[in-house]
């Protein structure tokens, strides 16, 4: 059995609204070849397991990893796809190393949102017996969650808009991000309504891209790099499927996943012990809801925390210094990008968006509508 798992390399593709010049395999190769080069490792010899994250309906192929098996080193070797967000690939990759079965695992997440219609893809996530026929998608479901959250805590759309202003500004300092810009709260408020209270600028834009990462046992990690980033804790949890089963303004699954990750990491007080956070905000309100679920403030307090500037780069608990998903990150890739951005921060390589002295970071990913499945990874130097 291995005692600890480190992240020894990350590579992120160019994220863009459309990447028509590459197919999935070529997009995957772009990041896999870079992460191998960075770590000095080679396929097939140095990598003994591969875990990928992609989505059958987005890719237009069931068992969607078939499209990338060859470039991930899966030919006549081990490769598994998990169907959740990319953060969960970290969870399963690390579990395989902790078991002692593997020592060096290549992770990949890819999605090209430009190739189909997100609302039709996400409609298929709704159960076929009771709800799919009503035409729901992730945006209309999120709007129901956002409204309930506004109602429960007496919030305003301005509270969501401040997340957009902060994240798009942070994105200007992130060379991977394509959607960075200066916007004002009033520009967010007056952007076209999509499904109120969600307006156009409250949504993460369609994006094509991929992220690759290498995990290693402690022994292997020491030989590969002199700056490993350790996985200190991780946890996952599911909430109910049906919208009406959940208290949409609460995030019990995230609180559960965070409690497991913090317990594993020995973190008793995340407000004191965590230096920065990367969360998956497909919609602006989710950043507020997720940081409450992570226990970084009380329930209903994230809007005030954000308005105070505490979540900005340079604040007491920076959230999404990368610019988050609003900066332009594909679905499914989202959580692996969160972990990758946390690694870049902990290595001190984040350039102008660097959180000074960062030693402990939390990355969160989710899949399903309204954050049904949650994954939390705690990372440290």
């Amino acid at each position: 059995m291995n005692e600890r798992v480190a992240i020894v390399g990350v590579a992120q593709s160019r994220f863009a609204p459309r990447r028509p010049e590459v197919n999935y395999a070529e997009l995957a190769y772009e990041v896999i070849s870079r992460v191998l080069e960075e770590t000095g490792l080679s396929l097939p010899g140095d990598i003994d397991n591969a875990v990928s994250c992609s989505h059958d309906i987005w890719d237009g192929q069931t068992i969607s990893d078939i499209g990338i098996t060859d470039v991930i080193g899966g030919h006549l070797r081990t490769e598994e796809k998990m169907a959740m967000d990319g953060s969960t690939a970290v969870f399963y990759g690390a579990a395989g190393i902790l078991s002692g079965e593997y020592s060096c695992t290549l992770l990949l997440a890819h999605t090209k949102m430009s190739q189909t219609n997100r609302n039709i893809v996400n409609n298929v996530a709704f159960d076929p017996i009771y709800t799919r026929m009503l035409g729901f998608d992730y945006t209309s479901a999120a709007a129901l969650q956002a409204r309930r959250y506004l109602y429960k805590y007496g919030l305003k759309r301005e509270d969501f808009a401040r997340v957009v202003v902060k994240n798009l500004r942070n994105a200007l300092l992130n060379p991977c991000a394509w959607n960075g810009r200066e916007v004002t709260v009033s520009e967010v408020l007056s952007s076209p309504p999509v499904a109120p209270p969600i307006h156009r600028l409250d949504m993460a834009p369609d994006t094509d891209g991929a992220v690759a990462m290498i995990l290693a046992s402690e022994e292997r990690a020491r030989a590969i790099t002199d700056r490993p980033v350790w996985i200190l804790g991780m946890g996952t949890s599911y909430d109910a499927h049906y919208l009406g089963d959940r208290d949409l303004a609460d995030v019990k699954a995230l609180r559960e996943a965070a409690a497991r990750a913090y317990a594993m990491a020995g973190i008793r007080n995340p407000r004191r012990d965590v230096d920065l956070v990367e969360v998956g905000e497909e919609f602006s309100y989710q950043e507020l809801l997720w940081i409450e679920g992570l226990g970084l403030c009380g329930r209903g307090e994230a809007a005030r925390l954000t308005a105070s500037g505490a979540t900005a780069v340079g604040g007491s608990i920076p959230v999404n210094p990368s610019g988050g998903l609003l900066s332009g990150v594909p679905i499914n890739v989202a959580g692996l990008n969160r972990v990758a951005e946390a690694v870049i921060q902990l290595r001190g390589e984040a350039g102008e968006r660097q959180v000074k002295g960062a030693q402990v970071a939390v990355a969160q990913g989710h899949s399903g509508f309204c954050g049904q499945h949650q994954c939390v990874v705690v990372l440290g130097t």
Binding site: T131, M133, L134, F136, R147, R148, P193, L243
Partner: protein, 151 residues
């Protein structure tokens, strides 16, 4: 000879069409027969957890006990949250704009996500009391409830 560094990206067009028939299960079959034939809405009570679930189900979400009983819920209910969908998609059964709401039916502990109509969006609020409008010709699907409307 082709230039190895120059090419025009080429898209392969795909259109997937699939027709599915999904068995509604023990609870779902009873629910849809009651809705279609009697305009009654059924939920599943769990006596251990003292909860009544909609959609009806055969296993309790919380204690995993088998649920065999069914009880009538609604038809009146209360809006818990709502939105106005402004965009059109082929998967929508109605033309946009339209209102979605989560409605807690009287006697149920979980909400039903469905349409709200015969009301201006600006007048919709959390806590609004509503009742279902049933389709005159019911086919045994969730659109046998056309939508909910204010009392």
């Amino acid at each position: 000879m082709d230039d190895l560094n120059q090419y025009q990206p080429f898209e392969v067009d795909q259109h997937l069409t699939a027709h599915g028939n999904y068995w509604a299960g023990r609870a779902g079959s009873r629910f849809y027969r009651a809705l279609r034939d009697r305009r009654r809405i059924l939920g599943s009570p769990c006596r251990n957890c003292r909860k009544v679930f909609w959609p009806p189900r055969s296993i309790c979400t919380f204690c995993f006990s088998e649920l065999r009983e069914m009880v009538e819920i609604g038809p009146l209910g209360t809006v818990e949250t709502f939105t106005l969908v402004t965009y059109a998609e082929p998967v929508h059964p109605r033309p946009a704009p339209f209102i979605y709401a989560v409605i807690r039916l009287d006697g149920a502990d979980t909400g039903m996500a469905h349409f709200l109509d015969e009301v201006e969006y600006e007048r919709v609020h959390v806590g609004m009391r509503v009742r279902p409008v049933f389709a005159p010709q019911r086919k045994g699907n969730i659109l046998d409830i056309l939508y909910f409307k204010p009392l």
